[in-house]
């Protein structure tokens, strides 16, 4: 039978925290600009211009190599990958290539992922390269068959790192978990703001058993990768079971129809005629660079998760959920700095707040500059959750009320104390008010009162009535004490 699913990944991350492009002084931040305004003679491919390597890009890519356990060669070389395409200003792409000697910014790494059983994937290489321009089709529904295509070179020359894994994944779910980890790592390294549209992209390849390898391209976001892979595995299994040969081919992920479809078949295999770029001398990475790099390494998700577990006594699952999204982890730590109740705050974030964040995921595009204390798109900040946890701990509001507050706060940004004043939702802990309510219930439910004297379960019925009567605001612990007192006092 079919066995041995092998999945490999090619992940592209833009180095969005760089001020300028990889080989010229134009801004890296090309989004929301007039087409072809973020260009210069170099990135526009004017005759006579030469690439000027952005040294910071080397550092950012090296941080990633370090984080993924890659070796960093002493000599780094850029290669020209020659092919004609209208989005390439020079009709070659400056990238890296290891076929003639290991010279890419990272090689032979390994990354562990998952919490329960620890899995790992080998990293074949990490390469630094330039992004091409953007093609804008006249009518998107017509795809590349449209009458004309517009070219916007604003993106051309932006720094990319490409992470190439070995085919070490066996399920689409593992791929998702791995990609979450990559996302969290590049966020922790502060080299890529993964929320920006197009900042992270992923191609995948799949083979089953002895079958041929199929490449899947055009997967628009990390979220779609799992779906694309599931579809492709089902397709290949179905073909195999019908004894149809699986061809080595490139397929495109059709986001609208959620299927992979055959890309245009090329008559000949692409020959990129790689050779070392003569205009960028070999870069020698001195030991001092590598030592400085080690010092610059920030805390990574794994270390941080361990710290959450040992210092804050959080559970494995809760820590993992927080670390999958650096924003959440930052938010959590900002909140506990205000009110140090880690377990409670972590639980509020992981069980209640998170659903709003996921729902908001699709609307993210602009960079949020206050990411450590607030969460993109929501008006809630760390201080809100801190105060909320405090009010619950002090028995001022009930959990039910607190959940209602979260619904409010994310929309309006009001503090819990403000909401409390506004709705007067304060939990009833005044004994006299509770006793009044008990009086009423005891009068109306005489038989239940008698039952309760024999059977403690009936007491809960009475408590329920009181909660109902007070619209849920009563402190159940105080109410229960008072009920018991009253039951056995009068007996």
């Amino acid at each position: 039978m079919l066995s041995g699913i092998k999945i490999g990944l090619e992940i592209h991350c833009q180095l969005t925290y760089l001020q300028t492009k990889l080989f010229c002084p134009c801004y890296s931040d090309y989004r929301f600009k007039t087409p072809n305004s973020n260009i210069c003679p170099i990135c526009y491919g004017h005759p006579g211009t030469l690439p000027l390597l952005n040294k910071d890009a080397l550092e950012h890519a090296s941080l990633l190599s370090n984080a993924l356990g890659c070796k960093i060669p002493n000599e780094i070389i850029f290669y020209r990958k020659n092919y004609f395409y209208p989005d390439l200003p020079k009709n070659f792409q400056l990238t890296q290539y290891n076929a003639y000697g290991i010279t890419s910014i990272g090689v032979d790494g390994k990354l562990e992922y998952g919490t329960d059983t620890t899995k790992s994937a080998r990293i074949r290489r990490i390469q630094l390269e330039e992004d091409p321009g953007r093609l804008v089709y006249e009518d998107n529904s017509m795809g590349s068959n449209s009458f004309y295509t517009l070219i916007d070179y604003n993106r051309a020359g932006v720094s990319l790192v490409e992470i190439v894994t070995e085919p070490d994944f066996t399920t689409p779910k593992d791929v998702r978990i791995f990609l979450n980890k990559i996302t969290s790592i590049v966020e922790h390294l502060r080299i890529c703001d993964t929320r920006l549209e197009g900042a992270v992209r992923c191609d995948a390849n799949v083979s089953i058993g002895e079958g041929k390898k199929v490449e899947i391209k055009n997967i628009g976001s990390f979220k779609e990768v799992e779906k694309a892979l599931s579809y492709e595995i089902t397709r290949q299994k179905t073909m195999s079971s019908r004894e149809i040969e699986i061809k080595a081919e490139t397929r495109h992920w059709d986001d609208a129809r959620k299927i992979t479809k055959q890309a245009r078949v090329k008559e000949t295999e692409e020959d990129y005629r790689y050779f070392p770029e003569p205009d960028i001398p070999t870069i020698v990475l001195e030991n001092s660079f590598l030592l400085a790099l080690k010092r610059k390494m920030p805390e990574l998700p794994d270390e941080r998760r361990r710290r959450f577990i040992t210092t804050y006594e959080l559970g494995d699952h809760v820590s993992q959920v927080l670390l999958d999204n650096k924003d959440l982890a930052d938010f959590f730590e900002s909140a506990i700095a205000i009110y140090p109740s880690p377990k409670a705050i972590a639980n509020w974030i992981v069980s209640d707040l998170i659903k709003f964040i996921n729902a908001d995921d699709h609307n993210r595009s602009e960079r949020n500059h206050h990411r450590s204390t607030s969460i993109s798109g929501l008006k809630i900040e760390a201080k809100h959750i801190a105060e909320l946890a405090k009010l619950v701990d002090q028995n001022i509001i009930s959990r039910t009320t607190a959940k209602g507050f979260i619904n409010q706060m994310i929309k309006t940004g009001e503090m819990p104390s403000q909401l409390l004043q506004k709705t007067n939702a304060s939990k009833i802990d005044d004994k006299n008010i509770i006793l009044d309510a008990i009086e009423i219930v005891f009068r109306d439910e005489k038989s239940a009162v008698n039952d309760a004297r024999q059977n403690s379960k009936a007491t809960n019925f009475l408590l329920g009535k009181i909660i109902h009567l007070t619209k849920g605001k009563v402190d159940p612990k105080i109410a229960l004490d008072l009920i018991n007192k009253k039951l056995f006092e009068s007996a």
Partner: protein
Amino acid sequence: MNQEFSAEEYISQILERIEKVDDKINAFIIVDSNGALEKARLIDKKVRNGEHAKDVGSLAGVAIGIKDNICTKGLRTTCASKMLQDYVPPYDATVIKKLKDDGAIVVGKLNLDEFAMGSTTEFSMYGSTRNPWNTSYVPGGSSGGSGASVAASECAISLGSDTGGSVRCPASFCSVVGLKPTYGRVSRFGLISYANSLEQIGPIGKTVSDVVMVMNSISGMDNNDQTTVDGETPKYSLQSNGNIRVGLLKEMVEGADPEISKCVYSAMDLFSNLGCRCEETSMKSIEYALASYYTIAMAESSSNLARYDNIRYGFDLSPDNYECNAYFAKVRSNFGQEVKRRIITGSYVLSSGYYGKYYLKAQKVRAILKQEIVSLLKTFDVLIGPTMPVLPFKFGEKIDDPLKMYMIDIDTVVANLTGIPSISIPAGFSKNLPIGLQIMAGEFQEQILFNAALLFESSANVQRSPDL
């Protein structure tokens, strides 16, 4: 510059000279008369206002011609190709900026083989440039316009580019002085690339001192070219001293026209008489130089010229009714024969499966050549030989036989492959046709090169200006 003879008068005379003789020579693609006169008036004004000489610039008012593969802001830069016939660069090459800062006046853009690919200036969409010594003969190439314009006194100095001999070949054929500086000495920013790892911009002048003057303006590290070498900007001086160890490269002399060999041996005798220690020496790996050179140059050019797709700049050709690949093919059919030949050959040697067999092997040969020359230059201060193995020849003589044409670069490519500086200076005549002496020195040893060249020049006294 003095007040009796203004820059404006001088530039006007230069423009008159161009007007008078360039019909015969065809050195210029564009003459920027208005621009040049305007600059001249500006300099005159500065002088009248009593500005110090150093503020006016070390090259104040000097008329300079620029090979038309070096970008000049606002002034068309064509590479003598249909592909760039309407191309106006939005920026000045670093060398142009430096020359302008020093007060030099760009009088126009000079003819070349299309994209600097050729040794005769016959491959130009603007027609061949003619040799001022005999207009039935080629001026050499690819910087034919740069060599001929200086020889014909159409400008005082010029810039060329030298990828495999393109400055030194026309300097030799036109009896002027031409320098290929050390790789990394002069910024290539703004030089339209033919083969990046081999080429340098270099000056042409009537005398060694003209060339030194230009080098003092254009040399040095440039932030826009990461292959330029860090360190202090050199200031070259004019010193002739006889204490030079001269090695004559046997292989170069043996392969040359006997008249030329004779001339090179006389040059060695002259050096000896001037107190230099001279010796014949040998460079074994020279026989592989040409194959290595053409493999690397064509490989790099095939990639460098890929950007000419007429999408971002170029010439007038509507893309209506073309699919993008068909349009690309149509556009690129406008390259000339020699350019096409080099792109195709270059693509071939880089293609998968052939890389190791050709490109990588060529690079290994290059490393061996470099080793050998470095070791030779421990024994000798300079190495000499002929610049060209042949005398200037008539139009059409070699144009139909590419291999024959490539062969004449045999002596010049060594300096490009190894990165060392090399100069061609007039050494004599045979049948009224000029012969150039090539002098090479170690990396960044331009000063030694100039010392040797000046020593030779001051004693040899070879004619520089033909009657026109």
